[in-house]
């Protein structure tokens, strides 16, 4: 196949993955402010979209390897060409859409890594996977991220409820807007650059860009617009799960959970121990559910989410591997893989229409509903 057409297909799929990444992760920042009525759903996703757009332009650090070190790339390892990147992206997109359909907040980065791992195994065998990196960067952080955020969120919730009285807690809604905005900005700086890295490496692999060069401006702009458009489109199913499915969130809890999410993400980004934003945000919501007296956590939903985290890499890997098998057949196979991707995307979209969820399905409490003061009995 003409390298130009192949790279164009990779870029199109990478941007679509970026779009799915955007709507998949809107919930991380905006689920709790929407659930407490701190901000209207459409305003929340618009704010998140703008901050993701700004964040994507601010980020200058582009992934040096497309798989985050999970696949032994480069000299002495597997050479991941545009064909394998294409197959990996198909795996990531299909799994991201399946988890969206199920309303599961799973990590988009893990879906991307899983898709690429599956494609690389078909392309070069199991020896290409660095097991040590898989355990230290994926499996153990997947346990530590929700635990850390959960403990931080639990204590923050206890503090919020110990210090304030019931009638004062509506004020936390204003604070939620700021903490949620910080999560959105951090998300834009982190996640858009992964797609920039994938497109840049595909351009380098195909010989359209010099080795060692950074992303072109048009790549940065396209990725920023794609993730912002995805964020604006919602991802209402996951917002519903995060905001209402795990536990009923009050404004004080929402503020505590968002503060815990922000603090954990910023600390992990800047102190060299990367944790998944999605897993941190989910852990915070669970922690705040345990932290409020009288609240309950729906452990069945939390268990489904944890199961989703566990199977994200193998499931995306299986789809990526199937796509890599097709791609290895040559031009016909590449066309077949792309047709499979389009059919899968269309099928999942049509299936989602059977139980349509959008911002109108999200029940928002009326102002003051959580903090209505008790009526005092009139003295006789």
């Amino acid at each position: 196949m003409d390298p130009l057409i192949l790279v164009a297909l990779v870029i199109a799929l990478a941007l679509f993955f970026d779009f799915t990444n955007g709507f998949h992760d809107t919930a991380n920042a905006m689920a709790t402010p929407i659930a407490t009525g701190a901000i209207k759903p459409k305003t929340a996703v618009a704010l998140a979209a703008v901050l993701n757009l700004v964040g994507a332009f601010l980020s200058t650090e582009v992934a040096k390897t497309i798989s985050g070190g999970l696949i032994r790339e480069g000299d002495g390892g597997v050479q991941i060409g545009p064909e394998l990147i294409l197959a990996g992206l198909i795996g990531a997109i299909v799994w991201n859409l399946v988890t969206w359909l199920l309303g599961l907040p799973s990590s988009s980065s893990h879906a991307l890594f899983g898709g690429l791992i599956g494609a690389a195994i078909v392309g070069a065998g199991f020896g290409v996977i660095d097991g040590g990196v898989l355990v230290s960067k994926i499996l153990i952080p997947a346990i530590l991220a929700p635990l850390t955020a959960g403990v931080v969120s639990y204590l923050a919730t206890k503090i919020a409820y110990a210090v304030t009285r019931k009638r004062e807690r509506d004020g936390f809604k204003k604070g939620q807007i700021f903490t949620a905005s910080l999560v959105s900005l951090a998300h834009g700086t982190n996640d858009a650059q992964k797609t920039m890295g994938v497109i840049t490496l595909a351009l380098i692999a195909a010989g359209f860009q010099g080795v060692g060069s950074g992303p072109e401006f048009w790549v940065i702009a396209a990725c920023a617009v794609a993730i912002a458009a995805g964020t604006y489109s919602g991802g209402w199913r996951i917002i519903r799960t995060m905001g209402r499915g795990i536990t009923e969130v009050e404004p004080a809890q929402g503020f505590a959970a968002e503060a815990a999410t922000t603090a954990t993400i910023l600390a992990s980004t800047h102190l060299g121990f990367a944790l998944s934003t999605t897993q941190v945000a989910s852990g915070s919501v669970i922690g705040t559910g345990i932290g409020r007296k009288g609240a309950s956590v729906r452990w069945r939903t939390a268990g489904r989410i944890a199961l989703g985290w566990l199977i994200t890499i193998p499931a995306a890997g299986l789809v990526g591997a199937a796509a890599a098998l097709l791609v290895s057949l040559g031009t016909g196979g590449i066309v077949g893989a792309v047709v499979f991707a389009v059919l899968a995307i269309t099928g999942i979209f049509l299936w989602s229409r059977r139980s349509h969820v959008d911002h109108r399905n999200l029940h928002q409490p009326e102002p003051g509903v959580f903090v209505r003061p008790k009526k005092r009995k009139a003295r006789r």
Partner: protein
């Protein structure tokens, strides 16, 4: 394989910063609710301190990038 010291640093930093931010905001709300004249300025200063923590968070996210832009 796992840098446990880095993880412990992340855990303690996240715990301390989140609890400080929540405590400051909560105190701001609590102190703003009352008749005494001293409460309002103290409440405002709690919100300002909480705002400073948020600004530090923004600095952590975009500070390096802005420094790169301005020192080019």
């Amino acid at each position: 394989m796992i840098d446990w010291m880095a993880f412990l640093t992340v855990f303690v930093s996240a715990l301390v910063s989140a609890c400080i931010a929540v405590a400051l905001f909560s105190l701001g709300l609590r102190l703003g609710d009352g008749e005494a004249t001293w409460r309002r300025p103290v409440s405002v200063s709690m919100f300002v301190l909480c705002g400073a923590v948020v600004l530090f968070g923004i600095y952590l996210i975009v500070g390096d990038h802005l420094l790169t832009l301005f020192t080019r």
